[in-house]
Symmetry: C2
Subunit: 203 residues, 2 copies
Amino acid sequence: MSATKNEPRVPTRLPAARRRRQLLEVALRVFAEKGYHDASMNDIAVAAGVTKPVLYQHFTSKRELFTELLGDVGRDLQDNITKAVAAANGPREMVELGFASYFSYVSRHRDAFKLFYGGGLARDAEFAELVGQVERTIAGHVATLIEIAGLSPSQRQVLGHGIVGMIEGASIHWLNSNSDADPATLAQQLADLAWRGLRGVTP
Amino acid sequence: MSATKNEPRVPTRLPAARRRRQLLEVALRVFAEKGYHDASMNDIAVAAGVTKPVLYQHFTSKRELFTELLGDVGRDLQDNITKAVAAANGPREMVELGFASYFSYVSRHRDAFKLFYGGGLARDAEFAELVGQVERTIAGHVATLIEIAGLSPSQRQVLGHGIVGMIEGASIHWLNSNSDADPATLAQQLADLAWRGLRGVTP
DNA sequence: CCCGGGTGTTACCGTGAGGTAACTCGTATG
DNA sequence: CATACGAGTTACCTCACGGTAACACCCGGG
């Protein structure tokens, strides 16, 4: 029995499953920081303390790696929101809880959010679809909450996307300004703005 | 006097100034369609019926070309909005006119808008600054219109960015869904939503 | 003791993009 | 008609990136 039993000198040489998870974590960080185009597979490999071919042992291509991350993040975000909203009593609470869960998610997973909003995703059909799915779902739910009269379904949908854009825009600015403001407070104020409008009469 | 006097057989070989303007127009189209990364200088040259070095006779680099376009579009958009808003009487009309001018601009200059929202601009410091300047300015104006009480300046700014994101999100969805809806109607409804909120009580 | 499988590395290829040097060609002017 | 200038082209360089083949190394089981 040698002295190097449970304590490898440097934690290289991981079992495949662990390595894969590590690579996903690292790739998320690197993609979030540099964006899809500017992050090279080499960057990711080096950041993981490993070389490129190891990456290709676990993922067949850069696209596939990114797609998997994007899908995971999208599902995660959407699950968080739908679960939070399901606990609401009435539309106003749906808005409050929905906003709160969104900001909570963003504040806890900044890298994941940056992946979602950040890159040239809009240009790539596959990537855009993954993001669009989530946005469409949220926008659709929001659309049912709009109480303005005389709107066609497609008009409601556009306005729903407007609210989604409002959340995204506020989130992006919030992250970029490195504000340490409480995400719950922010969500509360934004939900207030969405619900009562700019004119903000007190109920 | 030869027969080829004022009617060159094919309008190649333009004087420098005209060529430059044509290249800017074509580059705007190509960048809007394919995004900054996926549009190559060759693409632009070919689309202009010309070869790459001609492009480099007028612009020292791809970045410079894109930066010039981005700056032009930003100035143009901002000018349109500020001029429209200047004619308003009171905050509600500011919102209405501001939204209307934004959507009017987007509908008239789709390529310009796609350039602005579309690419990996957020990752690139210089590009992000050009876009951010416009967004910050608009968000700042909007922030002064929020009548919710008890907000700090930075909180107002975040909410202002929320409204800007709302306009952008709605615009993007509007363009992507190839809706033939009237931009003025859309602006009206979105302004309504922003002003009165989701709950949309009629005044 | 050695040997097999799986983990990782070095070194490489092909491609496509930004960018440039050197040449050609049309045209206006004396 | 000659010539000079400026618009355009061909052909190339360099470099970084996605992706891969072939080899090296470690460790558990007969």
